[in-house]
């Protein structure tokens, strides 16, 4: 099952976990399952059906915006990372 890496400041909303297994074959499905497990995470990641403006999502080391966004395929051994976008510069 894919593994979702949770950023440190959001771990209180994820039961203190840094990694969570979530089912699905696309980023959308994996994050939806994560949201079912931890509803507080769901509302923080999504604005309506869209990922919030300042959230970046990666499958392994690739930004999903360069792939198929939420429709990017995710394999059973893949890692999905949620990274706050407000950094750098």
């Amino acid at each position: 099952m894919p593994l979702v890496r949770i950023p440190t400041p959001l771990r209180p909303q994820a039961g203190g976990l840094d990694k969570i297994e979530a089912a699905g074959s696309t980023v959308r499905e994996v994050l939806a399952d994560l949201g079912c497990q931890h509803p507080a995470i769901q509302e923080r990641l999504f604005d309506g059906g869209e990922i919030r403006r300042f959230v970046n999502v990666y499958v392994n080391n690739e930004d999903v915006r360069y792939l198929d966004d939420l429709d990017t395929p995710v394999g059973a051994k893949d890692e999905v990372s949620i990274i706050p976008a407000v950094a750098g510069g």
Binding site: R44, R53, V86
Partner: protein
């Protein structure tokens, strides 16, 4: 809130104000949620950027033209609007770089009133990054961090390394592996732990976002970013004060992450709010990028609602090579709202502009300075910058650090024997004698 009417005209107490009372905390730029003064860069509700919030009525009690004028010529003369509690402990000599009336360059560009804000000679590391680092590392000391770090395209690496060394802090500096030699040496010399990452800046930045929270270190442009970014305002305060407490009609600033241009404008707006300006803060903000990495200028020009990141930036302006700019959306919005514009230029124009700035004003800027000038020229030629208005170009880094960009463009020195005859012969040949093969050829 209009606070000018309640501003106390002169600080008579003689006691230096501390921002402990003046900074109320951090505030999400999207939802407005308030946070304490902590090492956190984003809202945990919606991931929006956090920004320092001030009590401007309290600021107005001591922040006056007279009070500022009586203080040492460093960026800390504007201390009420910089988020450090008590005395700054790092970067105490940063800022107050020259604002130069650039008449020879103005003539070349065909404009009436042109200024260069020259942060290429900022102390200690020759870039505007000393401003943001001074605030961030002073805050890091306040918050008790012993280890600090950054994700850098080069200038920040040198500034964090230098200022951390002076403050006795342990520093991790992460950079893309293909940076210019001057930028790498300019960080390593200070004893920082320099880590070159196989990838571009966006890869480095992502890694630093993970490192900062995992290790609990103070990364200036990650968890300390709200404080760090405020340091850029000092460049705007200095421009306004040097112009006699007025703001220019146009500012042209380079854009990498897109933060600087917003903070320059915020500085002007804060001075206006506090009643310190002669006239309104109606500056049109113009953003400069390289064509090889133009996510923000592309957003401005297309009117897109979202910034489309650049996957593989490719430009000699490595200090601006951020494909996924954190403040890109805010920068593009600001540029449109102020009536400004944004453009991008190819590498050849960047080099030409570096030479033009050097040959007209005696200022050797790094590649980002070439970007700023080349974009300014383009915008003037297109009529987007009014030739009769006042314009400030922000030069943010020093050419000594990006020598690779011009090695193939400049002629090597003419070699002669130590005789008067040889020199006379050279002078007789005129300019043609100096039309030599590129400098780089002599060093290969």
């Amino acid at each position: 809130m209009r606070v000018a009417a309640i501003a106390s005209p002169i600080c008579v107490s003689g006691v230096n104000p501390v921002s402990n009372e003046l900074v109320t905390g951090l505030k999400c730029r999207l939802c407005g949620k308030l946070y304490g003064k902590e090492a956190l860069n984003f809202c945990t509700d919606d991931f929006g950027p956090l920004e320092v919030a001030y009590d401007y009525q309290a600021v107005a009690r001591t922040f006056t033209r007279e009070a500022v004028a009586a203080r040492p010529r460093t960026m800390w003369r504007y201390r009420e609007l910089l988020p450090v509690d008590g005395e700054p402990t790092v970067g105490r000599h940063v800022g107050c770089t020259p604002l130069i009336r650039a008449d020879r360059l103005a003539k070349a560009l065909g404009v009436a009133e042109l200024y260069i804000k020259n942060d290429a000679v900022n102390h200690p590391s020759l870039s505007f990054k000393d401003r943001v680092v001074a605030v961030a590392l002073s805050k890091a000391v306040e918050l008790g961090f012993k280890t600090v770090g950054c994700a850098s395209t080069g200038n920040l690496a040198g500034s964090v390394a230098a200022n951390a060394a002076a403050a006795g802090l342990d520093a991790y500096v992460l950079i893309p592996e293909d940076l210019e030699q001057g930028k790498i040496l300019g960080a390593t010399i200070y004893g920082a732990k320099v880590v070159a990452v196989r990838g571009n800046y966006d890869h480095v930045n992502r890694l630093c976002s993970q490192i900062a929270f995992r290790y609990g270190w103070g990364f200036v442009n990650v968890n300390l970013r709200p404080f760090y970014a405020e340091g850029s305002k000092s460049m705007g305060f200095e421009i306004a004060e040097e112009l006699g407490w007025r703001v220019p009609d146009h500012v042209v600033a380079p854009m990498a992450g897109g933060s600087l241009i917003g903070k320059l404008h915020k500085a002007f707006r804060e001075l206006e709010l506090l009643g310190l300006l002669d006239g309104p803060a109606r500056t049109k903000m113009f953003g400069a990028q390289a064509t090889g990495c133009n996510p923000i200028s592309n957003t401005v020009k297309t009117g897109a609602a979202k910034v489309k990141p650049i996957r593989n930036p490719d430009t000699i302006a490595k200090s601006l090579a951020i494909g996924d700019p954190a403040d890109g959306w805010f920068a593009s919005k600001l540029i449109r709202e102020t009536g400004g514009w944004s453009e991008d230029v190819p590498d050849s124009a960047i080099v030409d502009a570096m030479r033009l700035l050097a040959e007209t004003e005696g200022i050797w800027a790094e590649t980002a300075g070439g970007v700023t000038l080349a974009v300014a020229k383009k915008l003037i030629d297109e009529g987007k910058i009014d030739r009769d208005g006042s314009t400030v170009l922000c030069i943010t880094g020093n050419g000594l650090k990006t020598q690779e960009a011009i090695l193939d463009q400049l002629p090597r020195p003419v070699v002669i024997k130590p005789t008067l005859e040889d020199f006379e012969s050279l002078v007789e040949q005129g300019a043609e004698a100096f039309d030599q093969a590129p400098l780089a050829a002599a060093w290969r």
